[in-house]
Amino acid sequence: MSHPQPNDSTAVAIENCRSDFPALQQEINGQPLVYLDSAASAQQPTAVIDAVAEYQRHDHANVHRGVHTLSHRATDAYEGARDKIQAFIHAASRREIVLTSGTTESINLVAQSYCRPRLGPGNKILISHLEHHSNIVPWQLVCEQTGAELVVTPMDDVGQLDLEAFKQLLSTEVRIVSIGHVSNALGTINPIKDIVAQAHALDIPVLIDGAQSVPHLPIDVQDLGCDFYAFSAHKMFGPTGVGVLYGRESLLEEMPPYQGGGDMILEVSFNGTTYNDLPYKFEAGTPNISGVVGMGAAIDYLQSIGVSHIVKYEHDLLEYLTQQLASVDGIRLIGTAADKASVQSFLLDDIHPHDLGTILDHQGIAIRTGHHCAMPVMDYFGIPGTARASLALYNNVDDVDRLVAGLDKAKQIFA
């Protein structure tokens, strides 16, 4: 395999980027931190931390409300980030970029505002076995509210969707298809364009849960053809509590507001209210302004490195991670799809993942252990959970080697 080589010009830029992340420059339990939990939440570069702090120090006021200078600055910073997001995911219009608290709120918004008025007994919502709980439970709620049925596309033993079954499950009763772009537990990249084409052939809209894809893959919502795309800032080196719902403008126009409050109105009287235009119709109340500013800075940061460089670097590093893990005696890799990004789940001998997590943490290595908010995936494999190493652009070959050495120690303790 080709290691990500430091003498490759791409790798040089990315190797250097590790020093941009202050949290990675510390020791944990006497060892330099190896952070392999970016799929849960990625660390933030200085550029993001500083952008948020600068905004708080100099520019903070409420947005869209004041005539004074700070309110203008805050509004410019907030709306400027929206423009960056639009460009980053190649949306046709800034009106299609709804700022939310995260992927979870984005999916709930679609479930309640788009689907709920359209659903009744006999209707179906089609998801997949690979989904994170945040792409399961919002649909279960709206099914309970409307009598609609949640239908699940099966997966196979390597963690790939059964596309034949998906085609069979599509029918005119299906009101929406909602599928993750990249599985958080297994790393599988789903064939989104194929899924969208199949669904659109029956005029069924498609929501893509992009929480795990945005920092690892180039995202072009027009090329993907999806109708909704949901993602979070904190998985892509931005702050927590901020996310995006991209929605096709014609669909967003049809949808009633999700929440009522300030900023989402044009005119309010006790006889009734005229709702604001897109995207503000869906942004009730004072938003997470500093968080959105941080998300804009995270996009600038990603683009300064170049998403295509990140894809190549992480692809090679994931290959190295998978190979090195596979060479560990007693390892069982969970999730071995042909097309994957950033994540490798595994089990070691009969050591419980939680014990592995403690033993690795003791050596300064942070991984995620447990069900990864994807309990149906764990049920499929008949396991209570996995250990999961997830990569980001700041990881390198040394991190992988430290992980493998750490697993050796776990084996010694449990020998």
Binding site: N29, P353, T358, T369, P384, I413, F414, A415
Partner: protein, 159 residues
């Protein structure tokens, strides 16, 4: 267990003592209990530990049999195994004294707890207090015991 120098700091070895590893690998009183009079489920949602505890009480409230089933990490399985070993033969009021002593001991180790009780193998879990995220693993079975004795039928969670 092999004699491995895990670290200059011996916290890990303190956590994974031989007794704990032994009970984790070969849990005692594992399985369903015929004629159980009390049962409760313990769930630790953080790591997915899930166990069901069974008790059989006689007419004088003595625990004459106890068992557990389920899956969990080494700490939670060993804790359940040692707990069942400890409580069989005890009156429920004494078993509850153990429950209180153990939970206090793990969460507030600076104090002497349970001096009047023979803690025996339970002291093998003293190393857990150095690992705050694992205290819930060590107390899960004990919370299930408390729940079962008080005949609470719903699951007890460590969250």
């Amino acid at each position: 267990m092999s004699a491995v120098d895990i670290n200059s700091r011996d916290d890990l070895r303190e956590l994974y003592r031989e007794l704990i590893l032994d009970h984790a690998k070969s849990p005692r009183h594992f399985g369903k209990l015929a004629g159980a009079t009390h049962t409760a489920e313990g769930i630790n949602p953080l790591c997915g530990d899930k166990l069901r505890l069974y008790l059989r009480l006689d007419d004088e409230d003595k625990i004459d049999a106890a068992s557990f089933e389920g899956s969990g990490c080494a700490i939670s399985v060993a804790a359940a195994s040692v707990m069942t070993d400890t409580i069989i033969g005890l009156n429920v009021s004494v078993a509850l004294e153990y429950f209180r002593a153990v939970t206090r001991r793990l969460t507030d180790p600076g104090q002497d707890h349970g001096d009047n009780l023979d803690l025996g193998k339970i002291m093998a879990f003293d190393g857990v207090h150095e690992f705050p995220s694992r205290i819930k693993c060590a107390t899960l079975a004990w919370h299930a015991l408390n729940c079962a004795i008080h005949n609470q039928t719903k699951s007890v969670s460590t969250e």
